[in-house]
Amino acid sequence: MNSTILKVRNIGISAHIDAGKTTLTERILYYTKRIHAIHDVKGKDGVGATMDFMELEKERGITIASAATYCKWRNHEINIIDTPGHVDFTIEVERSLRVLDGAILVLCSVGGVQSQTITVDHQMARYNVPCIAFINKCDRIGADPFRVIKQLKNKLGHNAVAMQIPIGLEGNFSGIIDLVAMKAVYFEGDMGEDVRIENIPENLLPEAIQRREELIDTASIFSDELTEAALEDKITEDLLISAARKATLLRKMTPVFIGSAYKNKGIQPLLDAVTKLLPCPSEIENQAFDVDDDESSVILSNDLKKPLVALAFKLEDGQYGQLTFIRVYQGTLAKGSSILNVRTGKKAKVGRVTRIHADQMEDIDIIPAGYIGALFGIECASGDTFVSPGINLTMTSMYVPNPVISLAITPKDNKSEANVSKALNRFTKEDPTFKTSTNQETGETIISGMGELHLEVYVERMRREYNVEVITGMPRVAYRETISRRAEFNYTHKKQTGGAGQFGRVAGFMEPIAEEDFVFESKVVGGAIPTQFIPSCEKSFKKCLEKGPLMEFPVVGIKVVINDGSSHSVDSSDIAFKAAARGAFLEGYAKANPVIHEPIMRVVVETPTEFQGVVMGSLNKRRGMIDSAQDEGRLCVIEARVPLADMFGYSTALRSLTQGKAQFTMEFAAYKQVPQLIAEELAKKATEEKKSVA
């Protein structure tokens, strides 16, 4: 870590699924001589790409966890984090973009701007990360980089401008034309490692000139010198790059590059672009908040002599303890130094400090400002700020989206419970979007995450890493019982067959109420029920609510009024009146037309307008009542009330209906009576369950 800060680049590579991020990173590592052989993401050799080092990643051919590495190119040190494309693993993108200074947005030249492209674009915007775009797979049938540039403009609102144009496309894709240098670039050798520069082919010259004019027009808005030079026809490469860089750092322009990572074309110019157009750590303004001064804003400096300010952005619990990935923003983090966790207020001594390359570690002594490294043996959570003792600055953590899907899990055998616990504790610590809870009513362990794939991966990891098999199922819906009309009761509990007996009579009525779960009122006069036994009656009525007589769901919305009764001088007792109250409850309840209520969720779906019809249909099919549709131009927002019981699997259904372009949120709205058919199905299910238990 001895480059000057100006020659350091911390970049992330983000995109929709299968755009080619990992393949691109593999080529980058190869051309920078970080690795000596290229392996395919899901190749026949079974080795897999360098950055997909988890077995599951190699088997499935997907990136699950973000992976960090570093390399050198043209005297620049480039730290790269390759991220997953599935929305299920969005936290990896979120935490990476939080700590990086620039990004490469990879797009497929056929698929263009896809659903996760939109998401990662939002994430880049959230953290103000300047980016360059790389339109990949130009060798594919249907490749059309200019259509993708249009999509970048129309769908993402980017001021996208081509920095290159292709020489041939699809099977004829053979190179690129650099519009800054106005030269043709070809990639030769077994792995495209030999870059050959030639004059632009005659037939492509007019197009190259036109596209270059567009580039100059766009970039000159950000540079008076370029404007002047353009008027005098004296544009230099440096001037053009300088203007493009300025615009890129301001996030006012997105330079677009093209290539095919798989066919080893276009990577070296992309690396050049990273060094020329993306920022170094000192060009990014990083903000912290002074806890001792009412959280006033403090701009951090890359000065190595200033007190340490660093952010832990990822944890991995491994065999050697917790590995904490950390980005240093100010000062240095040295081995053996003392650091303070601002959130917990606890000090820790820094033990082992490492630098990461995929799954390998290299021991180092310090992590200076502007760099990313990892620490062993420091207890903390993702998003914790570490500082030198004596200062109290904190940094904003990364945004953690709420889970959208839940599953109930049960260990296949009781012996596995401890391991399940261990696994869940570890996974929830490492991944803030993976949550676990216990349903108080049903006792089920519920896991929640960002998608079915997300939960599937964790279930599989439990099996592989903790030797635990779990059965997954739909979480139980928290139904309720209530009554729908007033009913009277008059119940006598009598046990007087010799010896100490029991006697108590409770009379009154019950009626439905909307505002509260349970109200008890005593209107007993003249000591019909002795005062000392009335609290027992109330307790017993309350106990009856825990498991309703209909289907053992909790009972809500009931008002019980007792207004009469009888007692016996010897045989009446708390126990007797508890039993009498219970009998009275059951009697009244049966006459009060009890019904089942189900939770209704307020579901809000945001979808491109073209899918509005299918989305409304999908909600309608799930017994949803659509309340409104708000047209926002390209997007529309549909609000509906849908029973929770019918929302299971909606995440997957919505994705498949809308090509992954729609998103939804869901929150509890109210309880409502279930339709008769559903009530009958529930009754049947309850009977079957009772039979199987018996």
Binding site: A514, M616, M625, I626, E639, K672
Partner: protein, 233 residues
């Protein structure tokens, strides 16, 4: 019983809403007033009245988001039940809610073909078939001449009637027959035109075009405090 009570007690019956709709299927109605006088409140009452009669209402707003439109309904409903001292209205509200659908558009994003597409999506999938449509926020400028005929055909084809909120200005003099300038040249498309006029602290409803008031004439007012329609005197 509760619903029936509210319908019968409703002052709207005095402008001919007892058994049949005004305007008829395929018909247009307009309520005109300056900003803030009560057009939306009036239209929401018309809507709630229809909903109480188990008729579907599609409320389209080109100026307010869905939450604000929804709040209008809640407030007017609350005022109505308070006026008639009705308690335990949860079931009534739920019953009324299922007959309402709110759609919002940006003004420049609204067009008749777009509305037709949205309507078709709703009706073909049996999600919602409106009987009454309210369009609030449509600018009644020169461009309205192109959209109104299309909306008329849409209304006829779907068997619904449409009420429009029309914004008037203080400085504008009405045209012939007292019809405000916004409806000049298009008033033949309208079966009912109602003007809300603030006068001496009250808001008068003036029927400029449409069925004559039933016998037992009395001019209607909009109560400024509750924004509910009431009889004068």
């Amino acid at each position: 019983m509760l619903k029936k009570d509210l319908i019968l007690r409703n002052s709207l019956r005095l402008i001919g809403q007892k058994t049949e709709d005004i305007p008829p299927e395929g018909g247009f109605g307009a309520v005109l007033a300056r900003a803030g006088v009560g057009k939306t409140a009036f239209l929401v009452q018309l809507a709630l009245n229809s909903q109480l009669s188990n008729k579907n209402v599609l409320h389209i707003s080109l100026k307010d988001p869905t939450q604000k439109v929804s709040l209008w309904y809640e407030e007017v409903f609350r005022n109505i039940v308070a006026q008639y001292n009705i308690n335990k209205t949860n079931h009534l509200w739920e019953a009324v809610l299922k007959h309402r659908f709110i759609m919002t558009f940006k003004v420049d994003g609204f067009s008749v073909p777009k509305l037709e597409e949205r309507l078709t999506e709703l009706t073909e999938q049996n999600i919602f078939s409106p009987h009454m449509v309210i369009i609030d926020g449509l600018p009644f400028d020169n461009s309205v001449h192109t959209s109104l005929p299309g909306l008329k055909i849409l209304a006829e084809n779907h068997g619904m009637h449409i009420w429009f909120a029309v914004h008037t200005h203080r400085h504008e003099e009405p045209g012939t027959g007292g019809i405000p300038t916004q409806l000049e040249n298009v008033d033949d498309l309208f079966e009912v035109v109602i003007l809300l006029q603030p006068k001496e602290g009250e808001i008068h409803l003036k029927v400029l075009k449409g069925r004559s008031l039933s016998s037992g004439y009395s001019e209607l007012l909009l109560d400024p405090s509750s924004m509910l329609i009431k009889d004068k005197g």
